[in-house]
Amino acid sequence: MTTVGEVVGEHLLRVGAEAGDTYLIYADGRLRGVEPFIEKFPDRFLNVGIAEQNAVSIAAGLAHSGKQVYLWNNTTFLLYRPFDQIRVDAAFSRTRLRLIGTSAGLTRSKSGIINIAVEDVAIMRALPNMTVVCPGDLHEARALLNQCHQLDGPVYVRFPLENYELPEIHRPDTKVTLGHAITVRDGDDAALIATGHMLPVALGWIDEFAKAGLRVRLVSMPSIKPFDAGSVVTLVAEQLPIITVEDHSTIGGLGSAVAEAIAETGRGVPFRRIGVPDRYPYVVGSLGYLTEHFGMPGVSELRAWIVDQVSARSAREAEVGK
Protein backbone atom coordinates (compact mmCIF):
# COMPACT_ATOMS: atom_id res chain seq x y z
CA MET A 1 0.00 0.00 0.00
CA THR A 2 1.13 3.52 -0.72
CA THR A 3 0.41 6.36 1.65
CA VAL A 4 -0.40 9.92 0.68
CA GLY A 5 3.05 11.04 1.87
CA GLU A 6 4.72 8.29 -0.13
CA VAL A 7 2.89 9.06 -3.37
CA VAL A 8 3.88 12.72 -3.03
CA GLY A 9 7.44 11.63 -2.21
CA GLU A 10 7.64 9.33 -5.24
CA HIS A 11 6.35 12.08 -7.48
CA LEU A 12 8.81 14.67 -6.16
CA LEU A 13 11.72 12.28 -6.50
CA ARG A 14 10.80 11.52 -10.11
CA VAL A 15 10.09 15.06 -11.33
CA GLY A 16 12.97 16.30 -9.19
CA ALA A 17 15.41 14.03 -10.98
CA GLU A 18 14.07 14.85 -14.44
CA ALA A 19 14.50 18.58 -14.71
CA GLY A 20 16.54 19.51 -11.66
CA ASP A 21 14.39 22.49 -10.78
CA THR A 22 11.82 21.03 -8.38
CA TYR A 23 11.68 22.55 -4.89
CA LEU A 24 9.86 21.48 -1.75
CA ILE A 25 8.93 24.11 0.82
CA TYR A 26 7.86 23.42 4.40
CA ALA A 27 6.38 25.79 6.91
CA ASP A 28 7.42 23.35 9.67
CA GLY A 29 5.97 19.90 10.32
CA ARG A 30 7.02 16.72 8.59
CA LEU A 31 5.46 14.89 5.67
CA ARG A 32 6.49 11.27 6.06
CA GLY A 33 7.32 9.88 2.63
CA VAL A 34 9.23 12.81 1.14
CA GLU A 35 12.50 12.13 3.01
CA PRO A 36 14.15 10.53 -0.07
CA PHE A 37 13.63 13.78 -2.02
CA ILE A 38 15.03 15.87 0.82
CA GLU A 39 18.05 13.56 1.19
CA LYS A 40 18.77 13.49 -2.52
CA PHE A 41 18.21 17.21 -3.14
CA PRO A 42 18.96 18.99 0.15
CA ASP A 43 19.55 22.27 -1.68
CA ARG A 44 16.05 22.13 -3.10
CA PHE A 45 14.33 21.78 0.26
CA LEU A 46 13.57 24.82 2.40
CA ASN A 47 11.84 24.92 5.79
CA VAL A 48 10.83 28.55 6.31
CA GLY A 49 9.57 27.92 9.84
CA ILE A 50 6.11 28.28 11.33
CA ALA A 51 5.29 31.15 9.00
CA GLU A 52 2.59 30.25 6.50
CA GLN A 53 2.31 33.63 4.81
CA ASN A 54 6.06 33.84 4.35
CA ALA A 55 6.02 30.31 2.90
CA VAL A 56 3.57 31.14 0.11
CA SER A 57 5.30 34.34 -0.98
CA ILE A 58 8.77 32.76 -0.81
CA ALA A 59 7.48 29.86 -2.90
CA ALA A 60 6.06 32.36 -5.37
CA GLY A 61 9.42 34.12 -5.59
CA LEU A 62 11.13 30.82 -6.35
CA ALA A 63 8.50 29.94 -8.93
CA HIS A 64 8.91 33.28 -10.65
CA SER A 65 12.61 32.48 -10.90
CA GLY A 66 11.75 29.43 -12.99
CA LYS A 67 11.52 26.78 -10.26
CA GLN A 68 8.86 24.10 -9.94
CA VAL A 69 7.70 24.67 -6.39
CA TYR A 70 5.73 22.37 -4.10
CA LEU A 71 4.47 23.68 -0.79
CA TRP A 72 3.17 21.15 1.69
CA ASN A 73 1.28 21.63 4.95
CA ASN A 74 -1.82 20.54 6.82
CA THR A 75 -4.65 22.01 4.76
CA THR A 76 -5.79 24.51 7.37
CA PHE A 77 -2.27 25.92 7.76
CA LEU A 78 -1.54 25.70 4.04
CA LEU A 79 -4.49 27.77 2.87
CA TYR A 80 -6.31 29.71 5.53
CA ARG A 81 -3.85 32.13 7.11
CA PRO A 82 -2.07 32.90 3.83
CA PHE A 83 -5.21 33.07 1.70
CA ASP A 84 -4.43 36.58 0.51
CA GLN A 85 -0.90 35.58 -0.44
CA ILE A 86 -2.36 32.60 -2.33
CA ARG A 87 -4.93 34.82 -4.03
CA VAL A 88 -2.39 37.38 -5.22
CA ASP A 89 0.99 35.61 -5.32
CA ALA A 90 -0.34 32.31 -6.71
CA ALA A 91 -3.74 32.74 -8.39
CA PHE A 92 -3.65 36.29 -9.74
CA SER A 93 0.01 35.99 -10.66
CA ARG A 94 -0.58 32.64 -12.45
CA THR A 95 2.32 31.16 -10.52
CA ARG A 96 3.45 27.59 -11.07
CA LEU A 97 2.97 26.76 -7.42
CA ARG A 98 1.67 23.37 -6.31
CA LEU A 99 -0.07 23.49 -2.94
CA ILE A 100 -0.21 20.02 -1.37
CA GLY A 101 -2.68 19.85 1.50
CA THR A 102 -3.05 16.89 3.86
CA SER A 103 -5.48 16.31 6.77
CA ALA A 104 -8.28 17.79 4.67
CA GLY A 105 -11.93 17.50 5.64
CA LEU A 106 -12.61 15.94 9.03
CA THR A 107 -9.69 13.50 8.83
CA ARG A 108 -7.91 15.22 11.74
CA SER A 109 -11.05 16.65 13.33
CA LYS A 110 -10.19 15.55 16.84
CA SER A 111 -7.76 18.47 17.01
CA GLY A 112 -10.72 20.79 16.59
CA ILE A 113 -10.94 23.91 14.48
CA ILE A 114 -7.15 24.01 14.08
CA ASN A 115 -7.32 21.01 11.74
CA ILE A 116 -10.89 21.01 10.46
CA ALA A 117 -10.66 21.89 6.77
CA VAL A 118 -14.14 21.81 5.29
CA GLU A 119 -14.21 25.16 3.49
CA ASP A 120 -11.00 24.73 1.49
CA VAL A 121 -12.49 23.53 -1.79
CA ALA A 122 -15.06 26.34 -1.72
CA ILE A 123 -12.48 29.09 -1.36
CA MET A 124 -9.94 27.58 -3.70
CA ARG A 125 -12.36 26.92 -6.55
CA ALA A 126 -13.52 30.53 -6.32
CA LEU A 127 -10.02 31.68 -7.30
CA PRO A 128 -9.53 32.37 -11.01
CA ASN A 129 -6.52 30.53 -12.52
CA MET A 130 -6.52 27.94 -9.70
CA THR A 131 -6.72 24.22 -10.43
CA VAL A 132 -8.29 22.11 -7.66
CA VAL A 133 -7.99 18.32 -7.52
CA CYS A 134 -9.04 15.78 -4.89
CA PRO A 135 -7.53 12.37 -5.74
CA GLY A 136 -9.65 9.45 -4.58
CA ASP A 137 -7.31 6.56 -5.22
CA LEU A 138 -3.69 5.79 -6.04
CA HIS A 139 -4.14 6.03 -9.82
CA GLU A 140 -5.90 9.35 -9.56
CA ALA A 141 -3.20 10.66 -7.23
CA ARG A 142 -0.32 9.62 -9.48
CA ALA A 143 -1.94 10.74 -12.73
CA LEU A 144 -3.15 14.08 -11.43
CA LEU A 145 0.13 14.96 -9.71
CA ASN A 146 1.85 14.32 -13.06
CA GLN A 147 -0.66 16.30 -15.10
CA CYS A 148 -0.68 19.17 -12.64
CA HIS A 149 3.11 19.35 -12.76
CA GLN A 150 2.78 20.35 -16.42
CA LEU A 151 0.27 23.14 -15.81
CA ASP A 152 1.29 26.74 -16.24
CA GLY A 153 -0.49 28.00 -13.13
CA PRO A 154 -1.24 27.26 -9.48
CA VAL A 155 -2.72 23.99 -8.26
CA TYR A 156 -4.26 22.84 -5.02
CA VAL A 157 -4.09 19.09 -4.39
CA ARG A 158 -6.31 17.92 -1.53
CA PHE A 159 -5.49 14.80 0.46
CA PRO A 160 -6.66 13.13 3.69
CA LEU A 161 -4.14 12.21 6.42
CA GLU A 162 -0.54 11.89 5.25
CA ASN A 163 -0.41 8.27 6.46
CA TYR A 164 -3.70 7.35 4.75
CA GLU A 165 -3.17 4.37 2.50
CA LEU A 166 -4.52 5.23 -0.92
CA PRO A 167 -6.87 2.50 -2.16
CA GLU A 168 -6.63 1.13 -5.69
CA ILE A 169 -10.12 1.53 -7.07
CA HIS A 170 -9.56 2.07 -10.78
CA ARG A 171 -8.04 -0.57 -13.02
CA PRO A 172 -4.47 0.28 -14.01
CA ASP A 173 -5.61 1.00 -17.59
CA THR A 174 -8.29 3.49 -16.49
CA LYS A 175 -7.76 6.87 -18.08
CA VAL A 176 -7.50 9.60 -15.45
CA THR A 177 -7.53 13.06 -17.00
CA LEU A 178 -7.63 16.46 -15.39
CA GLY A 179 -11.07 17.96 -15.96
CA HIS A 180 -12.81 14.65 -16.55
CA ALA A 181 -15.11 12.51 -14.45
CA ILE A 182 -14.59 8.75 -14.34
CA THR A 183 -17.45 6.25 -14.32
CA VAL A 184 -16.43 3.60 -11.80
CA ARG A 185 -19.59 1.46 -11.81
CA ASP A 186 -22.52 1.54 -14.16
CA GLY A 187 -26.12 1.80 -13.08
CA ASP A 188 -29.41 3.31 -14.20
CA ASP A 189 -31.38 3.80 -10.96
CA ALA A 190 -29.37 6.74 -9.64
CA ALA A 191 -25.90 8.25 -9.74
CA LEU A 192 -23.53 8.76 -6.83
CA ILE A 193 -20.79 11.30 -7.47
CA ALA A 194 -17.86 11.17 -5.08
CA THR A 195 -14.65 13.11 -4.73
CA GLY A 196 -11.38 12.56 -2.90
CA HIS A 197 -11.22 10.15 0.01
CA MET A 198 -15.00 9.67 -0.08
CA LEU A 199 -14.56 7.59 -3.25
CA PRO A 200 -13.82 4.32 -1.41
CA VAL A 201 -16.65 5.10 1.02
CA ALA A 202 -19.01 5.64 -1.90
CA LEU A 203 -17.87 2.38 -3.48
CA GLY A 204 -18.84 0.59 -0.28
CA TRP A 205 -22.26 2.23 -0.44
CA ILE A 206 -22.71 1.10 -4.06
CA ASP A 207 -22.12 -2.48 -2.96
CA GLU A 208 -24.71 -2.08 -0.21
CA PHE A 209 -27.19 -0.60 -2.68
CA ALA A 210 -26.57 -3.54 -5.02
CA LYS A 211 -27.55 -5.95 -2.25
CA ALA A 212 -30.93 -4.21 -2.25
CA GLY A 213 -31.17 -4.69 -6.01
CA LEU A 214 -30.38 -1.05 -6.73
CA ARG A 215 -28.22 -0.27 -9.76
CA VAL A 216 -26.42 2.92 -8.80
CA ARG A 217 -23.84 4.46 -11.04
CA LEU A 218 -20.63 5.58 -9.30
CA VAL A 219 -18.87 8.57 -10.76
CA SER A 220 -15.51 9.74 -9.43
CA MET A 221 -14.93 13.48 -9.70
CA PRO A 222 -11.32 14.07 -8.70
CA SER A 223 -11.06 17.24 -10.74
CA ILE A 224 -13.07 19.99 -9.06
CA LYS A 225 -11.59 22.71 -11.20
CA PRO A 226 -11.63 22.40 -14.15
CA PHE A 227 -14.99 20.75 -13.56
CA ASP A 228 -16.59 18.18 -15.86
CA ALA A 229 -20.03 19.77 -16.14
CA GLY A 230 -20.64 17.66 -19.24
CA SER A 231 -20.69 14.49 -17.16
CA VAL A 232 -23.46 15.98 -15.04
CA VAL A 233 -25.39 17.03 -18.16
CA THR A 234 -25.31 13.40 -19.26
CA LEU A 235 -26.77 12.24 -15.96
CA VAL A 236 -29.52 14.85 -16.17
CA ALA A 237 -30.30 13.82 -19.75
CA GLU A 238 -30.79 10.27 -18.45
CA GLN A 239 -32.97 11.72 -15.67
CA LEU A 240 -30.94 9.94 -13.00
CA PRO A 241 -31.42 11.04 -9.40
CA ILE A 242 -28.05 12.38 -8.24
CA ILE A 243 -26.28 12.18 -4.88
CA THR A 244 -22.97 13.90 -4.23
CA VAL A 245 -20.64 12.89 -1.41
CA GLU A 246 -17.60 14.77 -0.14
CA ASP A 247 -15.70 15.31 3.10
CA HIS A 248 -16.28 19.06 2.86
CA SER A 249 -18.96 21.59 3.67
CA THR A 250 -22.11 21.16 1.62
CA ILE A 251 -21.54 24.79 0.67
CA GLY A 252 -19.13 25.50 -2.14
CA GLY A 253 -17.60 22.13 -2.87
CA LEU A 254 -18.49 19.19 -5.10
CA GLY A 255 -22.17 19.36 -4.20
CA SER A 256 -22.37 23.00 -5.17
CA ALA A 257 -20.47 22.45 -8.40
CA VAL A 258 -22.84 19.64 -9.38
CA ALA A 259 -25.90 21.70 -8.37
CA GLU A 260 -24.72 24.55 -10.58
CA ALA A 261 -24.25 22.17 -13.49
CA ILE A 262 -27.72 20.66 -12.98
CA ALA A 263 -29.33 24.09 -12.74
CA GLU A 264 -27.64 25.26 -15.93
CA THR A 265 -29.20 22.41 -17.90
CA GLY A 266 -32.59 23.99 -17.30
CA ARG A 267 -33.95 20.63 -16.26
CA GLY A 268 -34.33 19.12 -12.85
CA VAL A 269 -33.46 15.80 -11.25
CA PRO A 270 -33.90 14.66 -7.65
CA PHE A 271 -30.68 15.73 -5.94
CA ARG A 272 -28.96 15.38 -2.57
CA ARG A 273 -25.67 16.72 -1.26
CA ILE A 274 -23.91 14.63 1.37
CA GLY A 275 -21.19 16.49 3.22
CA VAL A 276 -20.43 18.42 6.37
CA PRO A 277 -23.39 20.63 7.31
CA ASP A 278 -22.99 24.36 7.77
CA ARG A 279 -21.90 24.07 11.41
CA TYR A 280 -18.71 23.83 13.44
CA PRO A 281 -18.48 21.18 16.14
CA TYR A 282 -18.10 22.38 19.74
CA VAL A 283 -17.24 18.95 21.11
CA VAL A 284 -14.20 16.71 20.77
CA GLY A 285 -14.93 14.53 17.78
CA SER A 286 -13.14 12.10 15.54
CA LEU A 287 -14.45 11.73 11.99
CA GLY A 288 -16.70 8.81 12.88
CA TYR A 289 -18.13 10.60 15.89
CA LEU A 290 -18.79 13.82 14.02
CA THR A 291 -20.55 12.00 11.18
CA GLU A 292 -23.18 10.96 13.73
CA HIS A 293 -23.01 14.23 15.67
CA PHE A 294 -23.88 16.11 12.50
CA GLY A 295 -26.53 13.58 11.50
CA MET A 296 -24.89 13.04 8.14
CA PRO A 297 -26.93 10.54 6.11
CA GLY A 298 -25.43 7.10 5.72
CA VAL A 299 -26.09 4.12 3.54
CA SER A 300 -29.50 3.15 4.98
CA GLU A 301 -31.04 6.61 4.62
CA LEU A 302 -29.71 6.97 1.09
CA ARG A 303 -30.87 3.50 0.12
CA ALA A 304 -34.41 4.39 1.22
CA TRP A 305 -34.20 7.65 -0.73
CA ILE A 306 -33.07 5.89 -3.91
CA VAL A 307 -35.87 3.33 -3.54
CA ASP A 308 -38.31 6.26 -3.33
CA GLN A 309 -36.86 7.75 -6.53
CA VAL A 310 -37.03 4.41 -8.36
CA SER A 311 -40.64 4.05 -7.26
CA ALA A 312 -41.54 7.59 -8.38
CA ARG A 313 -39.85 7.10 -11.73
CA SER A 314 -41.62 3.83 -12.33
CA ALA A 315 -44.96 5.49 -11.48
CA ARG A 316 -44.21 8.33 -13.93
CA GLU A 317 -43.29 5.89 -16.69
CA ALA A 318 -46.45 3.88 -16.06
CA GLU A 319 -48.44 7.11 -16.33
CA VAL A 320 -46.78 7.97 -19.65
CA GLY A 321 -47.37 4.42 -20.91
CA LYS A 322 -51.17 4.63 -20.38
Binding site: Y26, D28, G29, R30, N47, V48, G49, I50, A51, E52, Q53, N54, T76, F77, Y80, R81, K110, S111, G112, I113, I114, Y282, V283, V284, G285, S286, G288, Y289, H293
Partner: protein, 259 residues
Protein backbone atom coordinates in the same frame (compact mmCIF):
# COMPACT_ATOMS: atom_id res chain seq x y z
CA UNK B 1 -0.88 19.72 47.25
CA UNK B 2 -0.11 19.73 43.57
CA UNK B 3 3.53 19.92 42.56
CA UNK B 4 5.00 20.37 39.09
CA UNK B 5 6.32 16.81 39.23
CA UNK B 6 2.87 15.45 40.07
CA UNK B 7 1.45 17.45 37.16
CA UNK B 8 4.01 15.82 34.87
CA UNK B 9 3.02 12.32 35.91
CA UNK B 10 -0.65 13.15 35.55
CA UNK B 11 -0.34 14.76 32.14
CA UNK B 12 1.73 11.93 30.72
CA UNK B 13 -0.94 9.44 31.77
CA UNK B 14 -3.77 11.68 30.58
CA UNK B 15 -2.29 12.19 27.14
CA UNK B 16 -1.13 8.61 26.72
CA UNK B 17 -4.55 7.27 27.71
CA UNK B 18 -6.12 9.58 25.14
CA UNK B 19 -3.72 8.21 22.54
CA UNK B 20 -2.71 11.66 21.39
CA UNK B 21 0.51 13.67 21.22
CA UNK B 22 2.29 16.87 22.29
CA UNK B 23 3.60 15.34 25.53
CA UNK B 24 7.01 17.08 25.26
CA UNK B 25 5.37 20.49 24.66
CA UNK B 26 3.30 19.98 27.81
CA UNK B 27 6.29 18.89 29.86
CA UNK B 28 8.32 21.99 29.03
CA UNK B 29 5.49 24.31 30.11
CA UNK B 30 4.65 22.71 33.47
CA UNK B 31 6.41 25.17 35.83
CA UNK B 32 5.20 28.11 33.75
CA UNK B 33 1.52 27.25 34.01
CA UNK B 34 1.98 26.03 37.60
CA UNK B 35 3.51 29.37 38.62
CA UNK B 36 0.92 31.37 36.75
CA UNK B 37 -2.12 29.60 38.18
CA UNK B 38 -0.85 28.85 41.70
CA UNK B 39 1.25 31.97 42.38
CA UNK B 40 0.44 34.79 39.99
CA UNK B 41 -2.98 34.95 38.35
CA UNK B 42 -5.73 36.78 40.21
CA UNK B 43 -8.73 34.50 39.74
CA UNK B 44 -11.90 33.54 41.56
CA UNK B 45 -12.58 29.82 41.14
CA UNK B 46 -16.20 30.44 42.13
CA UNK B 47 -16.58 33.05 39.40
CA UNK B 48 -14.49 32.07 36.37
CA UNK B 49 -15.99 35.00 34.43
CA UNK B 50 -15.29 37.62 37.14
CA UNK B 51 -14.62 40.78 35.10
CA UNK B 52 -11.62 41.86 37.21
CA UNK B 53 -9.80 38.53 36.84
CA UNK B 54 -6.42 38.30 35.21
CA UNK B 55 -6.53 36.79 31.75
CA UNK B 56 -4.44 33.79 30.76
CA UNK B 57 -4.26 33.45 26.99
CA UNK B 58 -2.85 30.09 25.93
CA UNK B 59 -1.50 30.97 22.52
CA UNK B 60 0.54 27.78 22.72
CA UNK B 61 -2.71 25.86 23.02
CA UNK B 62 -1.26 22.41 22.50
CA UNK B 63 -0.06 22.24 26.13
CA UNK B 64 -3.70 21.98 27.18
CA UNK B 65 -3.20 19.04 29.55
CA UNK B 66 -0.73 20.99 31.70
CA UNK B 67 -3.07 23.97 31.72
CA UNK B 68 -6.12 21.90 32.73
CA UNK B 69 -4.16 20.30 35.58
CA UNK B 70 -3.03 23.69 36.88
CA UNK B 71 -6.59 25.01 36.59
CA UNK B 72 -7.93 22.02 38.46
CA UNK B 73 -5.26 22.51 41.18
CA UNK B 74 -6.73 25.94 41.95
CA UNK B 75 -10.30 24.70 41.75
CA UNK B 76 -11.47 26.24 38.48
CA UNK B 77 -11.93 22.90 36.74
CA UNK B 78 -13.29 19.86 38.53
CA UNK B 79 -10.58 17.20 38.34
CA UNK B 80 -13.17 14.56 37.40
CA UNK B 81 -13.96 16.38 34.18
CA UNK B 82 -10.43 15.73 32.96
CA UNK B 83 -11.36 12.07 32.58
CA UNK B 84 -12.99 13.26 29.35
CA UNK B 85 -9.66 14.50 27.95
CA UNK B 86 -9.79 14.08 24.14
CA UNK B 87 -12.84 11.80 24.41
CA UNK B 88 -15.32 11.90 21.52
CA UNK B 89 -18.38 13.94 22.43
CA UNK B 90 -16.64 15.57 25.39
CA UNK B 91 -15.71 19.19 26.02
CA UNK B 92 -12.05 18.64 27.03
CA UNK B 93 -10.06 18.94 23.82
CA UNK B 94 -6.33 18.16 23.67
CA UNK B 95 -5.67 21.69 22.52
CA UNK B 96 -7.15 24.81 24.09
CA UNK B 97 -10.59 25.48 22.57
CA UNK B 98 -13.61 27.03 24.25
CA UNK B 99 -16.06 24.13 24.23
CA UNK B 100 -17.54 24.32 27.71
CA UNK B 101 -14.89 24.04 30.43
CA UNK B 102 -15.01 26.99 32.82
CA UNK B 103 -12.25 29.56 32.80
CA UNK B 104 -10.94 28.91 29.30
CA UNK B 105 -10.12 32.25 27.69
CA UNK B 106 -9.99 32.79 23.93
CA UNK B 107 -6.72 31.86 22.26
CA UNK B 108 -5.39 28.43 21.50
CA UNK B 109 -4.33 27.14 18.15
CA UNK B 110 -3.71 27.93 15.33
CA UNK B 111 -0.51 29.53 16.50
CA UNK B 112 0.44 33.17 16.64
CA UNK B 113 -2.80 34.88 17.68
CA UNK B 114 -2.38 35.02 21.46
CA UNK B 115 -0.40 38.25 21.89
CA UNK B 116 -2.87 40.08 19.64
CA UNK B 117 -5.84 38.78 21.63
CA UNK B 118 -3.89 39.80 24.74
CA UNK B 119 -3.54 43.34 23.43
CA UNK B 120 -7.32 43.36 23.07
CA UNK B 121 -7.99 42.24 26.64
CA UNK B 122 -5.26 44.53 28.03
CA UNK B 123 -6.65 47.56 26.20
CA UNK B 124 -10.17 46.71 27.41
CA UNK B 125 -8.92 46.54 31.02
CA UNK B 126 -7.29 49.95 30.63
CA UNK B 127 -10.35 51.53 29.04
CA UNK B 128 -12.62 50.05 31.72
CA UNK B 129 -10.28 51.10 34.53
CA UNK B 130 -9.98 47.53 35.78
CA UNK B 131 -6.99 46.15 37.65
CA UNK B 132 -6.77 43.13 35.37
CA UNK B 133 -3.55 41.88 33.84
CA UNK B 134 -3.16 39.67 30.77
CA UNK B 135 -0.61 36.85 30.55
CA UNK B 136 0.00 35.17 27.21
CA UNK B 137 1.91 31.92 26.79
CA UNK B 138 3.65 31.41 23.44
CA UNK B 139 6.19 28.87 22.20
CA UNK B 140 9.58 29.81 20.79
CA UNK B 141 8.81 28.07 17.49
CA UNK B 142 5.52 29.94 17.47
CA UNK B 143 7.50 33.21 17.42
CA UNK B 144 8.21 32.43 13.75
CA UNK B 145 4.62 33.48 13.05
CA UNK B 146 4.47 37.00 11.63
CA UNK B 147 1.46 37.97 13.73
CA UNK B 148 3.57 37.67 16.92
CA UNK B 149 5.72 40.54 15.68
CA UNK B 150 2.78 42.63 14.54
CA UNK B 151 1.60 42.48 18.16
CA UNK B 152 5.11 42.94 19.53
CA UNK B 153 5.56 46.15 17.52
CA UNK B 154 2.23 47.60 18.61
CA UNK B 155 2.00 46.83 22.34
CA UNK B 156 4.68 49.30 23.57
CA UNK B 157 3.06 52.12 21.61
CA UNK B 158 -0.19 51.44 23.43
CA UNK B 159 1.62 51.65 26.78
CA UNK B 160 0.36 48.27 27.93
CA UNK B 161 2.03 47.85 31.31
CA UNK B 162 -0.64 45.23 32.09
CA UNK B 163 0.45 42.80 29.36
CA UNK B 164 2.94 39.97 29.87
CA UNK B 165 4.07 37.47 27.24
CA UNK B 166 5.83 34.32 28.45
CA UNK B 167 7.90 32.46 25.88
CA UNK B 168 8.31 28.74 26.57
CA UNK B 169 11.74 28.55 24.97
CA UNK B 170 12.10 24.77 24.64
CA UNK B 171 14.24 25.08 21.50
CA UNK B 172 12.47 22.36 19.49
CA UNK B 173 9.60 22.57 17.02
CA UNK B 174 7.67 20.01 15.00
CA UNK B 175 10.35 19.56 12.37
CA UNK B 176 13.78 20.40 13.75
CA UNK B 177 15.65 22.34 16.40
CA UNK B 178 14.27 25.86 16.42
CA UNK B 179 17.71 27.49 15.97
CA UNK B 180 18.26 25.41 12.83
CA UNK B 181 15.02 26.72 11.33
CA UNK B 182 15.19 30.35 12.40
CA UNK B 183 18.13 31.46 14.53
CA UNK B 184 16.88 34.29 16.74
CA UNK B 185 17.62 35.76 20.17
CA UNK B 186 13.99 36.36 21.09
CA UNK B 187 14.77 38.40 24.19
CA UNK B 188 16.93 40.79 22.19
CA UNK B 189 14.21 41.12 19.56
CA UNK B 190 11.43 41.89 22.03
CA UNK B 191 13.77 44.38 23.76
CA UNK B 192 14.47 46.06 20.44
CA UNK B 193 10.73 46.39 19.93
CA UNK B 194 10.40 48.21 23.27
CA UNK B 195 9.50 45.44 25.70
CA UNK B 196 10.81 44.91 29.21
CA UNK B 197 12.65 41.60 29.04
CA UNK B 198 13.33 39.06 31.77
CA UNK B 199 15.24 35.82 31.20
CA UNK B 200 14.63 32.96 33.62
CA UNK B 201 15.10 29.24 34.13
CA UNK B 202 11.69 28.07 32.98
CA UNK B 203 11.78 25.12 35.37
CA UNK B 204 12.36 27.31 38.44
CA UNK B 205 9.08 28.34 40.05
CA UNK B 206 10.92 30.95 42.15
CA UNK B 207 12.57 32.59 39.15
CA UNK B 208 9.36 32.55 37.16
CA UNK B 209 7.37 34.03 40.04
CA UNK B 210 9.87 36.83 40.57
CA UNK B 211 9.93 37.76 36.89
CA UNK B 212 6.17 37.49 36.38
CA UNK B 213 5.46 39.72 39.40
CA UNK B 214 8.29 42.20 38.76
CA UNK B 215 7.02 45.77 38.37
CA UNK B 216 6.68 46.87 34.75
CA UNK B 217 6.15 50.21 33.05
CA UNK B 218 5.58 48.75 29.58
CA UNK B 219 4.74 45.36 28.07
CA UNK B 220 6.87 42.63 29.57
CA UNK B 221 8.27 39.47 28.04
CA UNK B 222 9.57 36.60 30.15
CA UNK B 223 11.87 34.33 28.18
CA UNK B 224 11.65 31.01 30.03
CA UNK B 225 14.47 28.64 29.06
CA UNK B 226 12.99 25.15 29.22
CA UNK B 227 13.67 21.59 28.14
CA UNK B 228 11.20 20.05 25.74
CA UNK B 229 10.16 16.72 27.23
CA UNK B 230 11.44 17.78 30.70
CA UNK B 231 11.37 14.89 33.15
CA UNK B 232 11.34 12.03 30.66
CA UNK B 233 14.97 11.29 29.68
CA UNK B 234 14.15 9.65 26.35
CA UNK B 235 12.18 12.71 25.25
CA UNK B 236 14.36 15.50 26.61
CA UNK B 237 15.72 17.64 23.78
CA UNK B 238 14.86 14.97 21.21
CA UNK B 239 12.93 15.82 18.07
CA UNK B 240 10.50 13.21 16.83
CA UNK B 241 8.27 13.01 19.92
CA UNK B 242 6.38 16.24 19.18
CA UNK B 243 3.10 14.95 17.80
CA UNK B 244 3.47 11.29 18.69
CA UNK B 245 1.19 9.23 20.88
CA UNK B 246 2.96 6.84 23.26
CA UNK B 247 2.79 3.07 23.10
CA UNK B 248 2.07 1.33 26.41
CA UNK B 249 5.73 0.29 26.62
CA UNK B 250 6.83 3.88 26.12
CA UNK B 251 4.36 5.04 28.75
CA UNK B 252 5.77 2.57 31.24
CA UNK B 253 9.33 3.61 30.39
CA UNK B 254 8.39 7.28 30.74
CA UNK B 255 6.83 6.86 34.16
CA UNK B 256 9.60 4.56 35.45
CA UNK B 257 12.47 6.72 34.23
CA UNK B 258 10.74 9.86 35.38
CA UNK B 259 12.98 12.35 37.20
Amino acid sequence: MTTPQQMRRDLIRMIARANTGHIPSNLSAVEIVYTLFLRVLKLDPERPDWPDRDRFIASKGHCAAAIYLAMSAVGIIDRQRLDDFNVDGGDVPATILRYGLPGIEPGGSPLGRGPSIGIGTAVAAKRDGRDSRTYVLVGDGECQEGQIWEAAMLAPTLGLDNLVVVVDENRLQGSFETRDVVAADLGARFTAFGWQCHRVDGHSVAELETALLAPQDRPKVVIAATIKGKGVPMMENETGWHGRALTFAELTTSLRGFR
